[in-house]
């Protein structure tokens, strides 16, 4: 099969010849994330997850907005210079990002890719900048433990035992400013993932549900580009958790690629096991905050030269699970290099 688009590399991957640059990142997290192993790296740690608001939803919109404002200031830009804001969150009708965008006044694309939204936003944003449709764009996502918990699961004060495979939704917002000018790191390639469903019906086991999607996108990226794990310093997945990470490694190994030594899962790293997150962190904010606070800054200081960032999402809703549907997964990959 032949692909006619000028920049396509294989079936799912495109190459960004103008290589848009990530010039600034910002992250705001809740108190539990601040006490975690990566606590020192975040720009701001909230004392209280209500953040002075009347509801958790309002708090989430507030720190989403603040993360966007922060990243614009850190990138030495003005709000007027931002062409588009690409963002999303986990709540119905994307209320957190919608209401933040209402205050920001930046042209806005609302995206939903469950926990994969950060890489979806970066993939689309980088393509917009690369194609000359924008000079500067902001990608931002947020999630909040308490808003997600009440939408997807039970009231917070209900005395139930969480299964060992359950994730803990990260409270936090992460933002990245992508520009056509800048000193890197550069977004060089984008691999768009397919929705993969292996029939997992347990909505508390998102790691197993997302692992096949992550493996599928990683393998598609390797096959399209001819690269292997050796070409990257890190292969970063969003929130597969302890068990999903191992399953992904094995699935990729079956196809003849070994990523286990380079595999970094944001959900595993953001909390320490003593914080009782069970499988690990999850939510849009998980991968976005770790990328914004830890990974991109470590590219600026030269610790890492190249990474494949792959946020993973479980595309379920309470309605679909109650109707007995399985949990499909998705993952998009963004290839980031320190030099062009």
């Amino acid at each position: 099969m032949k692909f006619l688009a000028a920049n396509s590399v294989g079936k799912q991957t495109v190459k960004l010849n103008n290589a848009p640059s990530v010039i600034a990142t910002a992250s705001i997290v809740g108190p539990k994330e601040g006490q975690g192993p990566l606590g020192q790296y975040f720009d701001k740690v909230l004392d209280d997850d209500l953040y002075g608001e009347k509801s958790w939803e309002k708090a989430e919109a507030k720190f989403f907005q603040e993360a966007v404002e922060k990243v614009i200031v850190k990138g030495h830009k003005d709000k007027q210079e931002i062409n588009y804001l690409l963002g999303g969150d986990l709540l119905n009708q994307l209320i957190s990002s919608d209401f933040a965008a209402r205050q920001l006044g930046i042209p806005f694309f609302g995206l939903y890719g469950a926990c994969s939204t950060m890489s979806e936003a970066m993939a689309l944003g980088a393509m917009l900048v690369d194609g000359g449709y924008a000079d500067n764009i902001v990608c931002a996502v947020s999630s909040h433990f308490s808003t997600a918990e009440r939408q997807y699961r039970f009231p917070l004060e209900l005395g139930v035992q969480r299964p060992l495979t359950a994730h803990w939704t990260v409270t936090g917002a992460g933002a990245a400013l992508v520009s056509n000018q800048g000193e890197g790191p550069y977004i060089t390639m984008v691999t768009v993932g397919k929705v993969v469903d292996m029939g997992i019906k347990d909505s508390n086991d998102m790691g197993s549900a997302m692992a096949p999607a992550a493996a599928d996108t990683i393998m598609a990226h390797f096959m399209d580009t001819g690269l292997t794990a050796n070409d990257y310093d890190l292969i970063i997945t969003g929130d597969l958790g302890r068990y999903g990470k191992d399953i992904t490694d094995e699935l990729v190994k079956k196809a003849g690629y070994d990523i286990s030594a380079k595999h970094f899962d944001c959900g595993v790293e953001i909390f320490s096991p003593s914080q009782d997150p069970h499988a690990g962190g999850s939510g849009c904010g998980c991968s976005a905050c770790v990328l914004a606070a830890y990974l991109i800054p470590h590219m600026w200081d030269g610790t890492y030269n190249s990474m494949l960032f792959l946020a993973t999402g479980a595309l379920l809703s309470p309605t679909s699970s109650q109707q007995g549907e399985s949990v499909p997964g998705i993952a998009h990959a963004v290839s980031i290099h320190r030099t062009k």
């Binding site: 039970f154 004060e157 209900l158 005395g159 139930v160 299964p163 060992l164 029939g199 086991d205 692992a211």
Partner: protein, 183 residues
């Protein structure tokens, strides 16, 4: 002329058969793809079976037994207290015990303690009547921000509702059976 019409008819029939065959083949393809997909899914579910952690049933059962037992001890204490100090009769004692336990469950939920007990004890704190109080008070607290009518009022029984519906239904069914057969 007649020959031509006959030929057209034959040709038309032939086309129909071909389309029918194509449809059957396509359906077979779809079935085949579905079968492969199902096989892959089953294989994957088998593959992950020993990779996902199993809950420690013994630990959970012991925690549930101990905490559930302690809640029942508290209930017995309240019951004895009612009998001895307020001189309540049998019916009043059980009502008194239930009222005090529901109050305690609601209070501990409001103070943010009951969810921690539940995390440790599981069914041990869900099954006693304190768990029932917890299941009503926790959504009432959670949905207060959506207002008293559509929030608290509508969502209060989101967890306990099924228990009430099927509890009432089965008691009605049992009552009818009693009426019919116990004469």
């Amino acid at each position: 002329m007649k020959k031509k019409a006959l030929y057209a008819k034959e040709n038309y029939r032939g086309q129909c058969t071909a389309i029918k065959q194509q449809t059957i083949n396509r359906r077979k393809d779809v079935d085949y793809v579905d079968a492969v997909k199902q096989h892959q899914q089953e294989e994957y579910q088998q593959f992950i079976k020993d990779k996902i952690p199993k809950p420690n049933l013994l630990r959970n059962a012991i925690a549930a037994f101990v905490v559930g037992g302690l809640i029942c001890d508290v209930g017995q204490f309240i019951s004895n207290f009612g009998q001895n100090y307020f001189n309540l009769n049998k019916d009043d004692t059980s009502a008194f015990t239930a009222i005090v336990l529901v109050f305690l469950g609601a209070l501990l939920t409001g103070l943010g303690i009951y969810d921690r007990i539940g995390r440790f004890a599981g069914a041990g704190s869900v099954v006693p009547i304190t768990g029932f109080a917890n299941s009503i008070v926790s959504p009432a607290m959670e949905f207060k921000r959506e207002g008293y009518v559509l929030g608290v009022g509508a969502k209060m029984f989101i967890i306990a509702g099924p228990v009430l519906v099927y509890g009432f239904s089965s008691s009605v069914a049992l009552g009818i059976l009693h009426l019919l057969f116990s004469r």
